[in-house]
Symmetry: C2
Subunit: 595 residues, 2 copies
Amino acid sequence: MKTVPQRLTEFREAMKKAGCDIFIMPSSDAHASEYAPAHDTAWEYFSGFSCENSNLLVTLTEAALWVDGRFFGAADKALKDTGVQSMHMGVKGVPAVNEWIENKLKEGMVLGYNAETMPLTQMRGLKEICDRKGAELRDLPLVDQAWTEDRAPLPATPAWILGNEFAGKGADEKLSIFRNKLKEADCDSAVITSLDSVAWLYNLRAADVDNTPYALAFSYVDMESAVLFMDYSRLSSEGAETLKNAGVTIMGYKDMPEFLAKNEKALKVLVDPHCLNASLNNALRANSKFTVVEGSDPIALLKAVKNETELSCTRKAHIYDGAAMVRFQIELEKRLSEGEKLRETDIDTILHKYRSANPGFIVESFPTIAAYGENAANMHYAPKAGADAELKNEGYLLVDSGATYYEGTTDITRTYALGALTHEEKLGYTRVLRCHIDVAMAVWKEGATGGELDMMARQPMWRHMLDYRCGTGHGVSHVGAVHEGPQSLRPHNGIVFVPGMIITDEPGIYEEGHMGIRIENELECLEAGESEYGKFLRFQPITYVPIDMSCVLVDELTKEEKEWINGYHAAVLEKLSPLLSKEEIQWLTVKCAAV
Amino acid sequence: MKTVPQRLTEFREAMKKAGCDIFIMPSSDAHASEYAPAHDTAWEYFSGFSCENSNLLVTLTEAALWVDGRFFGAADKALKDTGVQSMHMGVKGVPAVNEWIENKLKEGMVLGYNAETMPLTQMRGLKEICDRKGAELRDLPLVDQAWTEDRAPLPATPAWILGNEFAGKGADEKLSIFRNKLKEADCDSAVITSLDSVAWLYNLRAADVDNTPYALAFSYVDMESAVLFMDYSRLSSEGAETLKNAGVTIMGYKDMPEFLAKNEKALKVLVDPHCLNASLNNALRANSKFTVVEGSDPIALLKAVKNETELSCTRKAHIYDGAAMVRFQIELEKRLSEGEKLRETDIDTILHKYRSANPGFIVESFPTIAAYGENAANMHYAPKAGADAELKNEGYLLVDSGATYYEGTTDITRTYALGALTHEEKLGYTRVLRCHIDVAMAVWKEGATGGELDMMARQPMWRHMLDYRCGTGHGVSHVGAVHEGPQSLRPHNGIVFVPGMIITDEPGIYEEGHMGIRIENELECLEAGESEYGKFLRFQPITYVPIDMSCVLVDELTKEEKEWINGYHAAVLEKLSPLLSKEEIQWLTVKCAAV
């Protein structure tokens, strides 16, 4: 295997031949995905460091990788002596990617990029810099030329169609809803590039992306036709039949540019510049028959509001998942109390055993975060076999995990006390729980946004000038990606909550070098009722797993918070008992006792 | 005195002569003021009904007055048999003003208006309708022609300059700050029309508007000159000297159009289209040397953030005011307990006696709202002598009042129990108090908006599907208008709170036919401190008056809410005692006892 300096030397040879002075590799793919398939991880191959939310910049003499707070330490270590600088995003004095480019770029220089994996909005930012500096932005196939070693092919796992008994609506009905949205936006066609949107529109699933059951595919839709761009041979015959009956044509994954070039109708085509890659944008603009309209992908909001079938299936998935979590906790407590030495990576093994026992199980919805003690201060900690911590009989163990079943996708965090706790540890847990409950029992007049609800969530922290450096919660896809927009509980999020949305409620405390505490349920948004003052909405938990009350300073809770926790635990016992043995019910009854 | 039909007949004569088909009279003046001086209340003269936030429309055969919820009943009664329809704003099926105009307007017709009292933004809405319908929008002096009887002249009360010991900064310093804001907005001049802004910029005060110590005046500022348009003779010689020393030129109130016409420099002039009247807009656009830039008046935000002198003076004003409120309550309790028959209008008399005893007293900051029993369900109730309710020994009396002193302007509401209360009445009071406290003790990371804080305030109401149909609070000017923007605690207000802003905290419950409860303090926004998570802000009450705890179901309060109220009452006792007699302190000590 080549070293990073060797890889960079070869890349710079390609740059010189092409007359390129600076080249940018964003952590994206052709679909602006949060997690790119291995084939598209050029920033990782050429820097030797794996991370998300990044950009690698290469000049003929320098290289620099931008990493966010989660990766500062690990990146500094891994990039040492590779010739790649570790750039700490958001830190004072460290230039942002575009500032850095602007400093390096001189008149007449060429800034290279790969249009196929570059989101249109990012490309435009680069173009502005080049225009200001009298430089040229040029689409160059340098990654393909220089990355010949060990490169994974584009994934092409078997694809299938999620049945209407799980999805509630077939592709025919969803196409009709989507076409109405296009008309509302005064458009008559659309290019759809986000994998989430394609998955929703056609109920298409596969295993192209780790932990996310999606297929790499694009789509084009107008008032008469719907085209899915994806290798036909990947589809089950049943799946192919279902799509054919819904009026969907299938063409090759790479065929969209040629297809767009052939269009002869005058069409107003809707694209989302945050998801559209620069290459497809060029293809669209090259055909003057298209009038390109830029806007938000309407599927994002359609998808975020679950239909009745999706909701009832998801509720079922959470009950399976809750039973698995209960069995996990019983086994964990038993093995630890018997003096067994367990490590962080054992947690995922135990969880997988119980979750995968369910016939509806597809895959974990993300790599299990099992973080003991100070490791939990890193919100996105991933234990690695051999380098993971041993669990001791003190402090907290944070377990953030979930699964995708045919019925739905789950995401849950519990923090367990493994021994006696200090007052300060209990106070932290209690504050996190108060934030959690305050969101869960919120009632609001319709029209409130995620940003407004987030503000309320943080009061029990903010009163003590504490905070968590992330949103309070995110949407969750139905049998799909564990992160879903556009709704979120996050400062200044402007999306209005409506019944049928699902959101996680996961405040936390993260103390570097000491501990991390997070309590996470998923909540469903529903109608609370109507009064002379208008319509009111509320949340209802759909996660059913006991919350460890032995860590709570109960006197710090308000009367309403105590009522909420007692009501919640009564529901946990009621929902899970039908799936549990007599002994398990006994155990659960103790955990769900009223305070 | 002419009847309304006579007035309308004469107005229609003027319309016919001018070839006008429809005429609109908004409740505005040349400064887009919330309360217009009597001279400009044409909508009231021609309809015979007094109200704010209104428009009167007159055609050759019809007339219609738009009123908001506060005035539905009174308007219906007053307008009966006058030939003026009472239009209930916001009620389903009742067309909005512009819809009504659009329905009536036919091709070739003339829609008349008075440019001098028409805000530019409203004029533009009318222009769009006329353009769509092929009609003409025409500035016509019909109000001046037809309103000859009993019309008040434009007010011209003695004007004076608020000293730096109260204002903190003189006109010279404020002009320099303002000019920097103009540069930031890439402008080099401004036309200032809002009375609040003119008052702030020059520390100019008078008594032109009821309860608001402002002078009718405009201003023009560029990088070299500052012109105040206001009758020179109104100014004290001392005031004239102060302004002269600050480099301010004074010209006549009506001289601005001629002044603008004479400008020969190429200037980018900033105007706020919500405050600029259509006539001044015409004058600006007529001189091609001006490039008009539309934006928010920067003074609004400058003025909303009080300086140290303003803050310390205001805190002092609130202590005077609190002592007056205590004396008022002692007298009220005594006279009622002695069996005296008191009426709602007596409340203002008693309050005035105690407030005006202070040498710094200028005027009540708004007409006292003293509302007994069901009258308090109307948030803006104004008792009228002869038609006011008698106070009985049961239910609630709501008193919302305030004053402007040389040190600052106050606004406070207390709701008093006049006898035994039902459980429901106590529950209502308790919920209002919880909303009040939850705002008052909020802590937030800098960046939160009024809309976000408002959302949090309402939780104790919303959980029971109750609400109040108004904002939770508004800004208050320094020695000025009791309502001040742009900050407010109101759904979706997007202004970010910063230290130095003052806001009222006045949640309420209003039950038609039964009761109204409101508890209002003013809060100052200040820094709470800084932690590793960032800078935090909080509120601190600057109103010091006991809250009647005999109305509270104390068990419904959280631990933190109880701590807040005990801390607040301790501060009330400490702040007011130096101004009170021994007996008054004894009385206050009982009212401020910890719960």
